[in-house]
Protein backbone atom coordinates (compact mmCIF):
# COMPACT_ATOMS: atom_id res chain seq x y z
CA UNK A 1 0.00 0.00 0.00
CA UNK A 2 2.80 2.37 0.82
CA UNK A 3 4.09 1.70 -2.68
CA UNK A 4 0.95 3.35 -4.03
CA UNK A 5 1.52 6.49 -1.99
CA UNK A 6 5.12 6.77 -3.10
CA UNK A 7 4.34 5.87 -6.72
CA UNK A 8 1.48 8.29 -7.09
CA UNK A 9 3.34 11.14 -5.43
CA UNK A 10 6.37 10.48 -7.64
CA UNK A 11 4.16 10.52 -10.72
CA UNK A 12 2.63 13.87 -9.77
CA UNK A 13 6.01 15.27 -8.93
CA UNK A 14 7.30 14.28 -12.37
CA UNK A 15 4.29 15.93 -13.98
CA UNK A 16 4.70 19.20 -12.15
CA UNK A 17 8.43 19.12 -12.82
CA UNK A 18 7.87 18.72 -16.53
CA UNK A 19 4.97 21.15 -16.69
CA UNK A 20 5.49 24.49 -18.38
CA UNK A 21 6.09 27.57 -16.26
CA UNK A 22 8.71 28.53 -13.71
CA UNK A 23 7.48 28.24 -10.10
CA UNK A 24 9.94 30.88 -8.90
CA UNK A 25 8.64 33.35 -11.45
CA UNK A 26 5.06 32.52 -10.54
CA UNK A 27 5.65 32.98 -6.85
CA UNK A 28 7.23 36.37 -7.45
CA UNK A 29 4.84 37.61 -10.09
CA UNK A 30 1.80 36.94 -7.97
CA UNK A 31 2.26 40.42 -6.56
CA UNK A 32 1.92 42.10 -9.98
CA UNK A 33 5.43 43.51 -9.81
CA UNK A 34 8.15 43.24 -12.39
CA UNK A 35 11.02 41.17 -11.08
CA UNK A 36 14.63 41.22 -12.15
CA UNK A 37 16.50 38.21 -13.41
CA UNK A 38 18.68 38.29 -10.30
CA UNK A 39 15.76 38.01 -7.89
CA UNK A 40 14.43 35.10 -9.93
CA UNK A 41 17.75 33.30 -9.72
CA UNK A 42 17.94 33.97 -6.00
CA UNK A 43 14.44 32.66 -5.38
CA UNK A 44 15.15 29.62 -7.49
CA UNK A 45 18.09 28.86 -5.27
CA UNK A 46 16.10 29.43 -2.11
CA UNK A 47 13.38 27.09 -3.31
CA UNK A 48 15.96 24.50 -4.28
CA UNK A 49 14.82 24.57 -7.89
CA UNK A 50 18.38 24.57 -9.22
CA UNK A 51 19.02 21.10 -7.80
CA UNK A 52 18.67 17.90 -9.84
CA UNK A 53 15.22 16.38 -10.09
CA UNK A 54 15.72 13.44 -7.76
CA UNK A 55 17.23 15.65 -5.07
CA UNK A 56 14.20 17.92 -5.32
CA UNK A 57 11.90 14.95 -4.94
CA UNK A 58 13.90 13.65 -2.00
CA UNK A 59 13.74 17.02 -0.26
CA UNK A 60 10.03 17.21 -0.82
CA UNK A 61 9.43 13.72 0.59
CA UNK A 62 11.64 14.47 3.57
CA UNK A 63 9.59 17.60 4.25
CA UNK A 64 6.26 15.84 3.71
CA UNK A 65 7.13 13.14 6.23
CA UNK A 66 7.66 15.88 8.81
CA UNK A 67 4.36 17.48 7.86
CA UNK A 68 5.86 20.27 5.77
CA UNK A 69 4.71 20.23 2.18
CA UNK A 70 5.97 23.64 1.23
CA UNK A 71 4.16 26.91 0.60
CA UNK A 72 1.20 27.34 -1.66
CA UNK A 73 2.10 29.88 -4.37
CA UNK A 74 -1.35 31.35 -4.71
CA UNK A 75 -2.41 31.56 -1.06
CA UNK A 76 1.03 32.22 0.43
CA UNK A 77 0.14 29.79 3.19
CA UNK A 78 1.62 26.41 4.10
CA UNK A 79 0.15 23.65 1.96
CA UNK A 80 -0.76 21.59 5.02
CA UNK A 81 -2.91 24.43 6.32
CA UNK A 82 -4.74 24.78 3.01
CA UNK A 83 -5.29 21.02 2.85
CA UNK A 84 -6.66 20.91 6.39
CA UNK A 85 -9.06 23.75 5.60
CA UNK A 86 -10.34 22.07 2.47
CA UNK A 87 -10.51 18.65 4.01
CA UNK A 88 -12.74 19.80 6.87
CA UNK A 89 -15.38 20.86 4.36
CA UNK A 90 -15.05 17.70 2.32
CA UNK A 91 -15.20 15.47 5.39
CA UNK A 92 -18.45 17.06 6.54
CA UNK A 93 -20.00 16.79 3.09
CA UNK A 94 -18.88 13.17 2.72
CA UNK A 95 -20.25 12.28 6.14
CA UNK A 96 -23.72 13.69 5.48
CA UNK A 97 -23.74 12.10 2.02
CA UNK A 98 -22.84 8.65 3.31
CA UNK A 99 -25.68 8.76 5.83
CA UNK A 100 -28.08 9.74 3.04
CA UNK A 101 -26.74 7.00 0.76
CA UNK A 102 -27.26 4.35 3.43
CA UNK A 103 -30.75 5.64 4.24
CA UNK A 104 -31.78 5.55 0.59
CA UNK A 105 -30.07 2.54 -0.88
CA UNK A 106 -30.13 -0.15 1.79
CA UNK A 107 -33.94 -0.18 2.18
CA UNK A 108 -34.50 0.27 -1.57
CA UNK A 109 -31.99 -2.41 -2.50
CA UNK A 110 -33.38 -4.98 -0.06
CA UNK A 111 -36.96 -4.16 -1.00
CA UNK A 112 -36.16 -4.51 -4.67
CA UNK A 113 -34.33 -7.82 -4.20
CA UNK A 114 -37.11 -9.34 -2.10
CA UNK A 115 -39.70 -8.37 -4.69
CA UNK A 116 -37.56 -9.39 -7.65
CA UNK A 117 -39.24 -8.88 -11.03
CA UNK A 118 -42.33 -7.32 -9.51
CA UNK A 119 -43.51 -3.78 -10.13
CA UNK A 120 -41.63 -2.35 -7.15
CA UNK A 121 -38.40 -3.92 -8.35
CA UNK A 122 -38.83 -2.38 -11.79
CA UNK A 123 -39.50 1.05 -10.30
CA UNK A 124 -36.38 0.86 -8.15
CA UNK A 125 -34.33 -0.31 -11.10
CA UNK A 126 -35.62 2.52 -13.26
CA UNK A 127 -34.70 5.01 -10.52
CA UNK A 128 -31.20 3.63 -10.26
CA UNK A 129 -30.78 3.49 -14.03
CA UNK A 130 -31.79 7.13 -14.41
CA UNK A 131 -29.51 8.04 -11.50
CA UNK A 132 -26.42 6.49 -13.03
CA UNK A 133 -27.06 7.87 -16.50
CA UNK A 134 -27.34 11.49 -15.46
CA UNK A 135 -24.13 13.46 -15.01
CA UNK A 136 -23.96 14.33 -11.31
CA UNK A 137 -23.03 17.95 -11.95
CA UNK A 138 -26.11 18.33 -14.08
CA UNK A 139 -28.34 16.99 -11.30
CA UNK A 140 -26.61 19.57 -9.10
CA UNK A 141 -27.31 22.41 -11.52
CA UNK A 142 -30.97 21.47 -11.84
CA UNK A 143 -31.41 21.25 -8.06
CA UNK A 144 -29.58 24.54 -7.70
CA UNK A 145 -31.92 26.16 -10.18
CA UNK A 146 -35.15 24.78 -8.69
CA UNK A 147 -34.42 24.97 -4.96
CA UNK A 148 -31.84 27.73 -4.92
CA UNK A 149 -33.06 30.17 -7.51
CA UNK A 150 -36.76 29.55 -8.05
CA UNK A 151 -37.84 28.55 -4.55
CA UNK A 152 -35.05 30.34 -2.71
CA UNK A 153 -34.90 27.64 -0.06
CA UNK A 154 -31.15 27.18 -0.08
CA UNK A 155 -28.19 29.45 -0.75
CA UNK A 156 -26.84 29.35 -4.30
CA UNK A 157 -23.24 29.50 -3.24
CA UNK A 158 -21.91 28.62 0.17
CA UNK A 159 -18.55 30.21 0.67
CA UNK A 160 -18.46 28.93 4.23
CA UNK A 161 -19.75 25.79 5.87
CA UNK A 162 -23.41 26.24 6.83
CA UNK A 163 -26.18 23.81 7.67
CA UNK A 164 -28.36 25.06 4.84
CA UNK A 165 -25.51 25.14 2.38
CA UNK A 166 -24.73 21.47 2.77
CA UNK A 167 -28.21 20.24 1.82
CA UNK A 168 -28.03 20.63 -1.95
CA UNK A 169 -24.51 19.29 -2.55
CA UNK A 170 -25.13 16.34 -0.23
CA UNK A 171 -28.46 15.49 -1.87
CA UNK A 172 -26.89 15.74 -5.33
CA UNK A 173 -24.08 13.38 -4.41
CA UNK A 174 -26.48 11.06 -2.60
CA UNK A 175 -28.76 10.77 -5.62
CA UNK A 176 -25.89 9.84 -7.87
CA UNK A 177 -24.13 7.47 -5.49
CA UNK A 178 -27.21 5.80 -4.06
CA UNK A 179 -28.40 4.97 -7.57
CA UNK A 180 -25.22 2.96 -7.95
CA UNK A 181 -25.26 1.56 -4.43
CA UNK A 182 -28.92 0.48 -4.59
CA UNK A 183 -28.04 -1.65 -7.59
CA UNK A 184 -25.15 -3.23 -5.75
CA UNK A 185 -27.19 -3.89 -2.61
CA UNK A 186 -29.84 -5.52 -4.76
CA UNK A 187 -27.32 -7.77 -6.50
CA UNK A 188 -25.65 -8.82 -3.25
CA UNK A 189 -28.97 -9.61 -1.51
CA UNK A 190 -30.25 -11.50 -4.55
CA UNK A 191 -27.12 -13.59 -4.63
CA UNK A 192 -27.54 -14.48 -0.96
CA UNK A 193 -31.23 -15.26 -1.41
CA UNK A 194 -30.31 -17.91 -3.99
CA UNK A 195 -27.97 -19.73 -1.61
CA UNK A 196 -28.77 -23.19 -0.33
CA UNK A 197 -28.99 -22.13 3.29
CA UNK A 198 -31.96 -19.91 2.45
CA UNK A 199 -33.78 -22.84 0.87
CA UNK A 200 -32.87 -24.85 3.96
CA UNK A 201 -34.22 -22.19 6.27
CA UNK A 202 -37.43 -22.01 4.25
CA UNK A 203 -37.75 -25.77 4.43
CA UNK A 204 -37.47 -25.52 8.18
CA UNK A 205 -40.45 -23.22 8.11
CA UNK A 206 -38.73 -20.02 9.19
CA UNK A 207 -40.59 -16.87 8.25
CA UNK A 208 -39.27 -14.79 5.37
CA UNK A 209 -38.60 -11.93 7.78
CA UNK A 210 -36.41 -14.05 10.03
CA UNK A 211 -34.52 -15.44 7.08
CA UNK A 212 -33.88 -11.97 5.72
CA UNK A 213 -32.82 -10.27 8.96
CA UNK A 214 -31.11 -13.11 10.78
CA UNK A 215 -29.51 -15.06 7.94
CA UNK A 216 -29.23 -13.08 4.73
CA UNK A 217 -28.24 -9.64 6.03
CA UNK A 218 -25.30 -10.70 8.21
CA UNK A 219 -23.89 -12.52 5.22
CA UNK A 220 -24.41 -9.58 2.90
CA UNK A 221 -22.69 -7.09 5.17
CA UNK A 222 -19.14 -7.93 4.08
CA UNK A 223 -19.40 -7.20 0.35
CA UNK A 224 -21.52 -4.14 1.15
CA UNK A 225 -18.82 -2.72 3.39
CA UNK A 226 -16.22 -3.12 0.65
CA UNK A 227 -18.45 -1.26 -1.78
CA UNK A 228 -19.25 1.44 0.75
CA UNK A 229 -15.55 1.86 1.43
CA UNK A 230 -15.05 2.60 -2.25
CA UNK A 231 -17.83 5.20 -2.15
CA UNK A 232 -16.35 6.87 0.90
CA UNK A 233 -12.95 7.01 -0.73
CA UNK A 234 -14.51 8.53 -3.82
CA UNK A 235 -16.32 11.14 -1.73
CA UNK A 236 -13.26 12.05 0.30
CA UNK A 237 -11.25 12.37 -2.89
CA UNK A 238 -13.10 15.63 -3.13
CA UNK A 239 -15.86 15.50 -5.64
CA UNK A 240 -14.40 18.43 -7.47
CA UNK A 241 -17.26 18.90 -9.89
CA UNK A 242 -20.01 19.04 -7.28
CA UNK A 243 -18.00 21.18 -4.93
CA UNK A 244 -17.42 23.59 -7.78
CA UNK A 245 -21.09 23.73 -8.77
CA UNK A 246 -22.10 24.70 -5.24
CA UNK A 247 -18.90 26.64 -4.45
CA UNK A 248 -18.51 24.35 -1.46
CA UNK A 249 -15.22 25.05 0.35
CA UNK A 250 -13.87 21.52 -0.01
CA UNK A 251 -10.64 19.91 -1.04
CA UNK A 252 -11.78 19.15 -4.59
CA UNK A 253 -12.74 22.74 -5.21
CA UNK A 254 -9.37 23.78 -3.83
CA UNK A 255 -7.56 21.33 -6.11
CA UNK A 256 -9.30 22.64 -9.21
CA UNK A 257 -8.35 26.19 -8.29
CA UNK A 258 -4.79 25.08 -7.55
CA UNK A 259 -4.55 23.52 -10.98
CA UNK A 260 -5.95 26.56 -12.76
CA UNK A 261 -3.47 28.76 -10.93
CA UNK A 262 -0.63 26.28 -11.49
CA UNK A 263 -0.01 26.13 -7.76
CA UNK A 264 2.21 23.04 -7.94
CA UNK A 265 3.05 22.49 -4.25
CA UNK A 266 -0.65 22.53 -3.48
CA UNK A 267 -1.40 20.02 -6.26
CA UNK A 268 1.35 17.71 -5.09
CA UNK A 269 0.17 17.97 -1.50
CA UNK A 270 -3.38 17.27 -2.59
CA UNK A 271 -2.52 14.11 -4.52
CA UNK A 272 -0.32 12.84 -1.70
CA UNK A 273 -3.08 13.54 0.79
CA UNK A 274 -5.69 11.68 -1.24
CA UNK A 275 -3.47 8.64 -1.65
CA UNK A 276 -2.96 8.53 2.12
CA UNK A 277 -6.69 8.84 2.77
CA UNK A 278 -7.34 6.04 0.30
CA UNK A 279 -4.76 3.86 1.96
CA UNK A 280 -6.33 4.41 5.37
CA UNK A 281 -9.82 3.60 4.09
CA UNK A 282 -8.67 0.34 2.54
CA UNK A 283 -6.97 -0.46 5.79
CA UNK A 284 -10.13 0.29 7.79
CA UNK A 285 -12.18 -1.93 5.46
CA UNK A 286 -9.71 -4.77 5.94
CA UNK A 287 -9.85 -4.41 9.71
CA UNK A 288 -13.64 -4.31 9.77
CA UNK A 289 -13.57 -7.65 7.93
CA UNK A 290 -11.75 -9.41 10.70
CA UNK A 291 -14.28 -8.04 13.19
CA UNK A 292 -17.32 -8.92 11.15
CA UNK A 293 -16.29 -12.28 9.75
CA UNK A 294 -15.97 -14.98 12.42
CA UNK A 295 -14.01 -17.16 9.99
CA UNK A 296 -11.32 -14.51 9.63
CA UNK A 297 -11.35 -13.81 13.34
CA UNK A 298 -10.50 -17.41 14.11
CA UNK A 299 -7.91 -17.40 11.38
CA UNK A 300 -6.18 -14.45 12.98
CA UNK A 301 -6.05 -16.04 16.39
CA UNK A 302 -4.93 -19.48 15.26
Amino acid sequence: MLVTVIGVSFLTFCLTYLAPGDPALMLLEAGDTIVSQETIEKTRKEMGLDKPFLVQYGNWVAGAVQGDMGMSYSAKKPVTEKLAEGFAGTLLLAGVTVVLILLISIPLGIFSAVHQNKLADYLVRIFSFIGVSMPSFWIGLILLYIFGLKLGLFPIASASVTAKGIVLPAVTLAIYQSAKYTRQVRTVILEELHQDYVTGARARGLSEGTILWKHVLPNAVLPLITLLGMSVGWLLGGVAVIEMVFSWPGIGNMAVRAITMRDYPLIEGFVLWISIVYMLINFAVDISYSYLDPKLRKGVRA
Binding site: A19, V132, S133, P135, W138, W234, A240, A255, I274
Partner: protein, 272 residues
Protein backbone atom coordinates in the same frame (compact mmCIF):
# COMPACT_ATOMS: atom_id res chain seq x y z
CA UNK B 1 -29.95 -12.12 -39.30
CA UNK B 2 -33.74 -12.22 -39.05
CA UNK B 3 -33.51 -14.99 -36.51
CA UNK B 4 -30.94 -13.09 -34.48
CA UNK B 5 -33.15 -10.01 -34.35
CA UNK B 6 -36.14 -12.13 -33.33
CA UNK B 7 -34.14 -13.77 -30.55
CA UNK B 8 -32.57 -10.58 -29.29
CA UNK B 9 -35.31 -8.00 -29.68
CA UNK B 10 -34.09 -5.63 -26.99
CA UNK B 11 -30.48 -5.77 -28.11
CA UNK B 12 -31.51 -5.06 -31.70
CA UNK B 13 -33.62 -2.12 -30.58
CA UNK B 14 -30.76 -0.61 -28.57
CA UNK B 15 -28.36 -1.22 -31.44
CA UNK B 16 -30.70 0.83 -33.62
CA UNK B 17 -30.51 3.65 -31.05
CA UNK B 18 -26.73 3.44 -30.96
CA UNK B 19 -26.58 3.53 -34.76
CA UNK B 20 -28.80 6.62 -34.78
CA UNK B 21 -26.44 8.38 -32.35
CA UNK B 22 -23.52 7.48 -34.61
CA UNK B 23 -25.50 8.70 -37.61
CA UNK B 24 -26.19 12.05 -35.93
CA UNK B 25 -22.50 12.36 -35.07
CA UNK B 26 -21.32 11.59 -38.59
CA UNK B 27 -23.97 13.59 -40.39
CA UNK B 28 -23.71 16.63 -38.11
CA UNK B 29 -22.67 19.04 -40.91
CA UNK B 30 -25.79 18.12 -42.88
CA UNK B 31 -28.20 17.81 -39.97
CA UNK B 32 -27.29 21.02 -38.20
CA UNK B 33 -29.28 23.91 -39.65
CA UNK B 34 -26.57 26.50 -38.92
CA UNK B 35 -22.87 26.94 -38.37
CA UNK B 36 -22.15 26.04 -34.70
CA UNK B 37 -19.34 28.59 -34.52
CA UNK B 38 -21.08 31.53 -36.18
CA UNK B 39 -21.96 34.05 -33.49
CA UNK B 40 -24.34 36.96 -33.82
CA UNK B 41 -24.03 39.43 -30.97
CA UNK B 42 -27.36 41.07 -31.83
CA UNK B 43 -29.19 37.83 -31.13
CA UNK B 44 -27.88 36.47 -27.84
CA UNK B 45 -30.01 34.28 -25.54
CA UNK B 46 -32.92 34.14 -27.96
CA UNK B 47 -35.74 31.91 -26.77
CA UNK B 48 -36.61 28.90 -28.92
CA UNK B 49 -38.19 29.96 -32.20
CA UNK B 50 -38.84 28.54 -35.65
CA UNK B 51 -35.48 29.89 -36.80
CA UNK B 52 -33.44 28.82 -33.74
CA UNK B 53 -35.17 25.66 -32.54
CA UNK B 54 -33.54 25.70 -29.12
CA UNK B 55 -32.65 29.37 -29.01
CA UNK B 56 -29.16 30.89 -29.04
CA UNK B 57 -26.32 31.00 -26.51
CA UNK B 58 -24.26 33.83 -25.04
CA UNK B 59 -22.59 34.61 -28.38
CA UNK B 60 -25.77 34.22 -30.38
CA UNK B 61 -24.76 30.81 -31.69
CA UNK B 62 -27.50 28.38 -32.62
CA UNK B 63 -27.99 25.99 -29.68
CA UNK B 64 -29.49 23.17 -31.72
CA UNK B 65 -26.59 23.13 -34.16
CA UNK B 66 -24.10 23.17 -31.32
CA UNK B 67 -25.84 20.25 -29.66
CA UNK B 68 -25.74 18.25 -32.90
CA UNK B 69 -22.05 19.00 -33.41
CA UNK B 70 -21.51 18.18 -29.74
CA UNK B 71 -22.59 14.63 -30.53
CA UNK B 72 -19.59 14.20 -32.83
CA UNK B 73 -17.17 15.74 -30.33
CA UNK B 74 -18.39 13.62 -27.42
CA UNK B 75 -18.69 10.43 -29.41
CA UNK B 76 -15.33 10.85 -31.09
CA UNK B 77 -13.58 11.49 -27.78
CA UNK B 78 -15.34 8.61 -26.06
CA UNK B 79 -14.59 6.12 -28.82
CA UNK B 80 -10.91 7.11 -28.90
CA UNK B 81 -10.80 6.79 -25.11
CA UNK B 82 -12.48 3.38 -24.99
CA UNK B 83 -10.32 1.92 -27.76
CA UNK B 84 -7.06 3.27 -26.35
CA UNK B 85 -7.91 2.19 -22.80
CA UNK B 86 -9.05 -1.28 -23.78
CA UNK B 87 -6.13 -1.69 -26.21
CA UNK B 88 -3.47 -0.60 -23.75
CA UNK B 89 -5.05 -2.57 -20.91
CA UNK B 90 -5.34 -5.71 -23.04
CA UNK B 91 -1.73 -5.43 -24.24
CA UNK B 92 -0.43 -5.06 -20.69
CA UNK B 93 -2.71 -7.85 -19.48
CA UNK B 94 -1.63 -10.26 -22.21
CA UNK B 95 2.04 -9.49 -21.71
CA UNK B 96 1.95 -9.96 -17.96
CA UNK B 97 -0.35 -12.97 -18.06
CA UNK B 98 1.55 -14.83 -20.74
CA UNK B 99 5.14 -14.08 -19.81
CA UNK B 100 4.70 -14.03 -16.06
CA UNK B 101 7.76 -13.58 -13.89
CA UNK B 102 9.32 -10.18 -13.54
CA UNK B 103 7.35 -8.60 -16.37
CA UNK B 104 4.15 -9.55 -14.62
CA UNK B 105 5.32 -8.35 -11.25
CA UNK B 106 6.32 -4.91 -12.44
CA UNK B 107 3.26 -4.37 -14.64
CA UNK B 108 0.78 -5.59 -12.05
CA UNK B 109 2.35 -3.52 -9.30
CA UNK B 110 1.83 -0.54 -11.51
CA UNK B 111 -1.75 -1.57 -12.25
CA UNK B 112 -2.53 -2.06 -8.56
CA UNK B 113 -1.14 1.36 -7.87
CA UNK B 114 -3.51 2.90 -10.40
CA UNK B 115 -6.45 0.88 -9.14
CA UNK B 116 -6.00 1.87 -5.52
CA UNK B 117 -6.26 5.54 -6.33
CA UNK B 118 -9.27 7.61 -7.34
CA UNK B 119 -8.84 7.83 -11.10
CA UNK B 120 -10.75 11.03 -11.61
CA UNK B 121 -8.57 12.93 -9.14
CA UNK B 122 -5.43 11.95 -11.01
CA UNK B 123 -7.05 12.58 -14.38
CA UNK B 124 -7.95 16.10 -13.27
CA UNK B 125 -4.37 16.67 -12.12
CA UNK B 126 -2.86 15.29 -15.33
CA UNK B 127 -5.21 17.06 -17.71
CA UNK B 128 -4.95 20.25 -15.69
CA UNK B 129 -1.17 20.32 -15.57
CA UNK B 130 -0.73 19.40 -19.22
CA UNK B 131 -3.27 22.05 -20.18
CA UNK B 132 -6.82 21.43 -21.28
CA UNK B 133 -7.29 20.06 -24.76
CA UNK B 134 -9.20 17.19 -26.29
CA UNK B 135 -6.08 15.05 -26.71
CA UNK B 136 -4.76 15.69 -23.19
CA UNK B 137 -8.14 14.82 -21.69
CA UNK B 138 -8.19 11.51 -23.54
CA UNK B 139 -4.61 10.71 -22.54
CA UNK B 140 -5.25 11.59 -18.90
CA UNK B 141 -8.28 9.33 -18.76
CA UNK B 142 -6.47 6.50 -20.54
CA UNK B 143 -3.67 6.79 -18.02
CA UNK B 144 -6.06 6.24 -15.13
CA UNK B 145 -8.43 3.66 -16.65
CA UNK B 146 -6.26 1.02 -18.36
CA UNK B 147 -5.46 -0.90 -15.17
CA UNK B 148 -8.92 -2.45 -14.81
CA UNK B 149 -8.59 -4.01 -18.28
CA UNK B 150 -5.06 -5.18 -17.62
CA UNK B 151 -6.22 -7.02 -14.48
CA UNK B 152 -9.16 -8.60 -16.27
CA UNK B 153 -7.18 -9.73 -19.31
CA UNK B 154 -4.32 -11.03 -17.23
CA UNK B 155 -6.59 -13.34 -15.23
CA UNK B 156 -8.11 -14.64 -18.48
CA UNK B 157 -4.71 -15.23 -20.05
CA UNK B 158 -3.41 -17.11 -17.03
CA UNK B 159 -6.34 -19.50 -17.36
CA UNK B 160 -5.72 -19.86 -21.11
CA UNK B 161 -1.97 -20.27 -20.93
CA UNK B 162 -1.98 -23.86 -19.76
CA UNK B 163 -4.60 -24.99 -22.29
CA UNK B 164 -3.62 -27.77 -24.70
CA UNK B 165 -3.96 -25.68 -27.85
CA UNK B 166 -1.48 -23.12 -26.56
CA UNK B 167 0.97 -25.77 -25.44
CA UNK B 168 0.58 -27.48 -28.82
CA UNK B 169 1.26 -24.24 -30.65
CA UNK B 170 4.37 -23.67 -28.60
CA UNK B 171 5.64 -27.22 -29.16
CA UNK B 172 5.12 -26.72 -32.89
CA UNK B 173 7.51 -23.80 -32.76
CA UNK B 174 4.96 -21.09 -33.43
CA UNK B 175 6.37 -17.61 -32.93
CA UNK B 176 5.39 -16.02 -29.63
CA UNK B 177 3.76 -13.07 -31.35
CA UNK B 178 1.64 -15.40 -33.48
CA UNK B 179 0.52 -17.30 -30.39
CA UNK B 180 -0.46 -14.10 -28.68
CA UNK B 181 -2.22 -12.66 -31.72
CA UNK B 182 -3.88 -15.74 -33.21
CA UNK B 183 -4.57 -17.89 -30.17
CA UNK B 184 -4.72 -15.72 -27.07
CA UNK B 185 -6.22 -12.54 -28.49
CA UNK B 186 -9.42 -14.05 -29.95
CA UNK B 187 -10.13 -15.72 -26.63
CA UNK B 188 -9.90 -12.61 -24.51
CA UNK B 189 -11.58 -10.30 -27.01
CA UNK B 190 -15.22 -10.99 -26.04
CA UNK B 191 -14.67 -10.05 -22.40
CA UNK B 192 -12.75 -6.92 -23.39
CA UNK B 193 -15.53 -5.91 -25.79
CA UNK B 194 -18.22 -6.45 -23.15
CA UNK B 195 -16.33 -4.46 -20.53
CA UNK B 196 -15.54 -1.73 -23.02
CA UNK B 197 -19.14 -1.47 -24.18
CA UNK B 198 -20.39 -1.21 -20.62
CA UNK B 199 -17.86 1.51 -19.88
CA UNK B 200 -18.81 3.79 -22.78
CA UNK B 201 -21.47 5.63 -20.79
CA UNK B 202 -19.25 6.19 -17.76
CA UNK B 203 -16.36 7.39 -19.88
CA UNK B 204 -18.58 9.80 -21.77
CA UNK B 205 -19.61 11.32 -18.44
CA UNK B 206 -16.03 11.54 -17.23
CA UNK B 207 -15.07 13.41 -20.39
CA UNK B 208 -18.01 15.77 -19.94
CA UNK B 209 -17.02 16.25 -16.30
CA UNK B 210 -13.45 17.22 -17.17
CA UNK B 211 -14.66 19.61 -19.86
CA UNK B 212 -17.12 21.06 -17.36
CA UNK B 213 -14.22 21.83 -15.03
CA UNK B 214 -12.37 23.49 -17.89
CA UNK B 215 -9.74 20.76 -18.26
CA UNK B 216 -11.19 19.21 -21.39
CA UNK B 217 -12.38 20.62 -24.69
CA UNK B 218 -11.74 24.36 -24.91
CA UNK B 219 -14.06 27.03 -26.27
CA UNK B 220 -15.38 27.46 -28.89
CA UNK B 221 -15.56 23.68 -29.42
CA UNK B 222 -19.13 22.46 -29.23
CA UNK B 223 -18.81 19.94 -26.40
CA UNK B 224 -21.63 19.13 -23.99
CA UNK B 225 -19.67 19.38 -20.75
CA UNK B 226 -18.21 22.70 -21.83
CA UNK B 227 -21.63 23.96 -22.93
CA UNK B 228 -22.98 23.04 -19.49
CA UNK B 229 -20.24 25.10 -17.90
CA UNK B 230 -21.04 28.06 -20.17
CA UNK B 231 -24.73 27.63 -19.36
CA UNK B 232 -23.99 27.52 -15.64
CA UNK B 233 -22.72 31.09 -15.70
CA UNK B 234 -26.08 32.26 -17.03
CA UNK B 235 -28.23 30.11 -14.78
CA UNK B 236 -30.22 33.15 -13.70
CA UNK B 237 -30.83 34.82 -17.03
CA UNK B 238 -30.98 31.84 -19.38
CA UNK B 239 -31.61 28.61 -17.45
CA UNK B 240 -32.45 26.68 -20.62
CA UNK B 241 -28.80 26.93 -21.71
CA UNK B 242 -27.81 24.37 -19.10
CA UNK B 243 -30.82 22.13 -19.61
CA UNK B 244 -30.19 21.09 -23.22
CA UNK B 245 -26.61 19.77 -22.98
CA UNK B 246 -27.53 17.82 -19.84
CA UNK B 247 -30.50 16.22 -21.56
CA UNK B 248 -28.26 15.35 -24.52
CA UNK B 249 -25.70 13.69 -22.23
CA UNK B 250 -28.44 11.85 -20.36
CA UNK B 251 -30.03 10.47 -23.53
CA UNK B 252 -26.80 9.33 -25.15
CA UNK B 253 -25.35 7.88 -21.95
CA UNK B 254 -28.61 6.01 -21.30
CA UNK B 255 -28.55 4.55 -24.78
CA UNK B 256 -25.00 3.31 -24.39
CA UNK B 257 -25.65 1.94 -20.90
CA UNK B 258 -28.68 -0.01 -22.10
CA UNK B 259 -26.79 -1.23 -25.13
CA UNK B 260 -23.80 -2.30 -23.07
CA UNK B 261 -25.99 -4.32 -20.70
CA UNK B 262 -27.81 -5.92 -23.62
CA UNK B 263 -24.56 -6.73 -25.39
CA UNK B 264 -23.30 -8.49 -22.28
CA UNK B 265 -26.47 -10.57 -22.15
CA UNK B 266 -26.05 -11.53 -25.80
CA UNK B 267 -22.34 -12.37 -25.71
CA UNK B 268 -22.19 -13.85 -22.25
CA UNK B 269 -25.52 -15.43 -21.28
CA UNK B 270 -24.09 -16.93 -18.10
CA UNK B 271 -23.92 -13.65 -16.25
CA UNK B 272 -27.61 -12.78 -16.38
Amino acid sequence: MKEFVANHKLFSLYTMFVLSVIFVALAAPWLAPMDPYAGDMRNVFLPPSSEHWLGTDKLGRDMFSRLIYGTSTSLFMTICLVFLTAGLGAAVGIASGYFGGRVEMVLMRFADMMLSFPGVVLAIAIAGIMGGSIINTILALVAVSWAKYARLVRSLVIKLRSNDFIVAARVNGTKTFTILWRHIMPNVLPMVVITGAMDIGTMMMEIAGLSFLGFGAQPPTPEWGLMLNEGRQYIQTAPLMMVYPGVAIFIVVSIFNLWGDALRDVLDPRQT
